[in-house]
Subunit: 340 residues, 2 copies
DNA sequence: CTGTTAGCGCGTTCAC
DNA sequence: GTGAACGCGCTAACAG
C-alpha cells in the first residue's frame, strides 16, 4: 500500500497525505483528520526508505561502542537513544569488539545509510575511517575519552587523569604496594590511558609501577580468579590491586572471598567506572565515578543541535564537553589503610 | 557523489559500477577491479537508501527488548547481531521499557523502515501491533518465552515451567518456607510467568505461596536492600528467598552481607537466568540456567532462513524452538539445607 | 490550503 | 559482459 492508495480513497492527492503526516506542514484541520482516520483504518504504514531518499534525511544516527555487553556503554547508548527518540531519530548501534578493522567496516556500512551524525567511542581509528568521515561531511562525536587530535566534537573525560587522580588519592591514604591489573592493549584505548595514569601517579611519588595483565579487553568479572592468581604470583606483597574496571575488581573481590582472603584487611581493591555493582557489593568498591548516562545525554543534545544547520558563525566550531570523574572511596579500599 | 560519478571517471555506465559492487553479478574481472579501485580512490560510499528503495530489500531486521540495560537481553541481541552481521543485515534495536504502548510506537516506527524480519520479546502485545504485523507480511519471531498464542515463530522456553522446576528442586532439597520476590506486573510478562511457576510448585506440595514485590520491572541489584526489608517484615521466618532474576538475588545477598545475615545458613537465596554474576559471586547463586546467547543465535538462523523465500511446502509453517532451562544449585541455596 | 511536476540514486529488466 | 530505459514511493519546489 502506498500513499497513492490512501489519497485515492479520499479523492485527494498523495501530496496532501504526505503533508498531513507531518506536524509542521499546512493542511486544513478537517483534511488532516480525514487522512489520519483513513490511514488508521487501512493500517497504512509510510515507507520511510522512499521518504528518506526524497527528503535526504535518513532519520538515523549511528553509534559505535566497543561492546554492548558492558553496562557502562549500554547506559550511554540508552541515554543517547532516550535523547534522540522524541525527535524520531533512530539509532544504528554497532559493536566493534575492541577491533579497529571491525570499526572501519561498520563505519563504511553505516555511512551507506546516510546517518545524520555518527558517534564513536574513541579507541584510535584507522586512517581510512577518518578519511571517509571527512568526505561524508557527517557530524562526528567522539565519546568516553579526550582524543589527542579530535575529529570534531567530544564528550568525555581524561581516562589517564581520572585513574591518576584515584591512585594519587590512594597513595595519600597510605597505600604503597599498589599493583595495576588491566588489559592487553597497546593502542590508544581507554584501558591504556588508565594504565598510564596509574604509572604517572606512582612515579610522581617515586614508586615503580607494578603491572599485570592477562585479559584482552574487555576484562570481565569472570577474569577475577585468574587475575588474582597473576597478582599473587608476580607481586605477592601487594597491598592494593587497582583494576582497569569495576567488573574486574568485583571478580577479584569474589575470588578473595572464595579463598578466605579478607578485603580490605589482607588485600585492598579498587575499580573504575562506578558501575552498579560497585555500589551494591559488600564491601562497596572504591572507584572513579563516571556518569555514563550523562555522556549519552550530552551527546544526544549535540546531535540534535547539529540537525538544524548552525548559524554561519558557529560553523565548524568543535564542541568539547567534559564530564566529571571523581574518586569514590568505599570499603574495598578505604581512605584509612588497614592492610597489615 | 553518486555511482554516475564513479562510472564517468571510468568511461562506463553506472549499471556496471552497481554490478561490480555485488559478488553475485556478472562483470569482467578487469572491470570489477578497476571499479573497486576507483571507488577506493574516490572514497565513494554507495547510498543504500536508494539501493533499498530500488531493490525492495532494506537490509534491516528489527528487534525489540524490554531493556538493554539487562545483560541477558543484551547477550541475546549481541548474538543475534553476530548471526546477522556476516549477511549484511543491520539490526534496528528498540527498548520498550516494559511498556506496551511504547512497544506499539516502536513497531510502527520500525515497520516504516521495512525490516525483513521483526523480533519481539514477548510481553503481551497491543492489538494494534498484532494487526499491523499481520498486514505488513513481515516475518515475526517472538523470543524469551512461549506465548499462549504465538504470532508466528518462537524461540524461547516456558518461564513458568522453568521457575516451577527450580522451586520443585528446592522443595525436594528440604526448603519449606520459600518466599518469592518479584516485580509488580500483572500482564503476560515473563516475571508473572515465573511467579505463577513458583505458586504452582508450592501448591503441589500443599504449601501456600508467600509473595513479595516492590519493584516495577526490571528488578535490579540496587533493589536488594529494600527487597530484603520487605521479605523480613512480611515473612520473618523465611528460609529461602526465590527471586525473579539473578541481579535481584545478588542485591539481596549483598544486603545480607552488610547486615551480618549469613547466606545460606540464616537465609538461602535463589535467582533466575544464570547471569555472569551468579557464577562469579561468592557464594555462587542457585538459579536456572538460560543460554541467552543461544536464543539470539537461533533467532538469527531463523531470520536468515526467512530471507530466502521458502519452498511452497514450508510456507507459513511456524517454527518453535525451545532452549533448555535447567536448575543449577550453588552455594546461595545448596541442595542440602543448612538453614537453622 | 492543495495539486502538479520533477526528481532523490539506485536496481530490475530487457536489449544488444 | 555491458548499456538504456524505467520505476521504487516519497517529498521539494513551485504554481495556483
Amino acid at each position: 500500500m502506498r500513499m497513492q492508495d490512501v489519497a485515492k480513497r479520499l479523492g485527494i492527492s498523495a501530496m496532501t497525505v504526505s503533508r498531513a503526516l507531518r506536524a509542521d506542514t499546512t493542511v486544513a484541520p478537517a483534511t488532516r483528520e480525514a487522512v489520519l482516520k483513513a490511514i488508521e483504518e487501512l493500517g497504512y504504514v509510510p515507507n520511510q526508505i522512499a521518504g528518506s531518499l526524497a527528503s535526504r534525511r535518513s532519520g538515523f544516527a549511528a553509534v559505535l561502542v566497543p561492546s554492548l555487553n558492558n553496562s557502562h556503554f549500554s547506559e550511554t547508548v540508552l541515554a543517547l537513544n532516550a535523547a534522540l527518540e522524541p525527535h524520531h531519530i533512530q539509532l544504528l548501534i554497532g559493536s566493534t569488539d575492541y577491533d579497529r578493522e571491525k570499526e572501519a567496516g561498520l563505519v563504511r556500512a553505516f555511512l551507506a545509510r546516510k546517518p545524520e551524525a555518527i558517534v564513536l567511542t574513541n579507541d584510535g581509528h584507522s586512517p581510512d575511517v577518518v578519511r571517509l568521515l571527512g568526505q561524508a561531511r557527517v557530524p562526528v562525536v567522539q565519546i568516553w575519552d579526550l582524543p589527542a587530535r579530535p575529529i570534531q566534537h567530544v564528550v568525555g573525560f581524561s581516562n589517564r587523569e581520572a585513574m591518576k587522580g584515584l591512585i594519587a588519592t590512594l597513595l595519600r591514604a597510605g597505600y604503597r604496594r599498589i599493583t595495576y591489573f588491566g588489559e592487553l592493549d597497546d593502542d590508544e584505548t581507554r584501558g591504556a590511558a588508565r594504565r598510564h595514569g596509574y604509572c604517572e601517579a606512582m612515579r610522581e611519588v617515586g614508586l615503580s609501577p607494578r603491572l599485570c595483565a592477562i585479559a584482552r579487553p574487555p576484562a570481565t568479572m569472570s577474569d577475577g580468579e585468574r587475575a588474582l592468581d597473576e597478582v599473587l604470583q608476580h607481586y605477592p606483597d601487594t597491598e592494593l590491586v587497582a583494576c582497569v574496571s569495576d567488573p574486574l575488581a568485583f571478580g577479584i573481590m569474589a575470588a578473595c572471598a572464595r579463598r578466605g582472603i579478607s578485603v580490605p584487611d589482607q588485600l585492598a581493591i579498587s575499580g573504575f567506572g562506578d558501575f552498579e555493582i560497585a555500589r551494591v557489593s559488600a564491601p562497596g568498591i572504591t572507584t572513579v565515578r563516571i556518569d555514563a548516562a550523562s555522556i549519552g545525554r550530552l551527546t544526544g543534545e549535540i546531535v540534535l543541535d547539529l540537525l538544524v544547520p548552525a548559524a554561519p558563525a558557529q560553523q565548524g566550531v568543535a564542541i568539547c564537553e567534559t564530564v566529571p570523574a571523581e574518586p569514590v572511596l568505599r570499603g574495598s579500599a578505604p581512605g584509612t589503610v588497614s592492610v597489615g
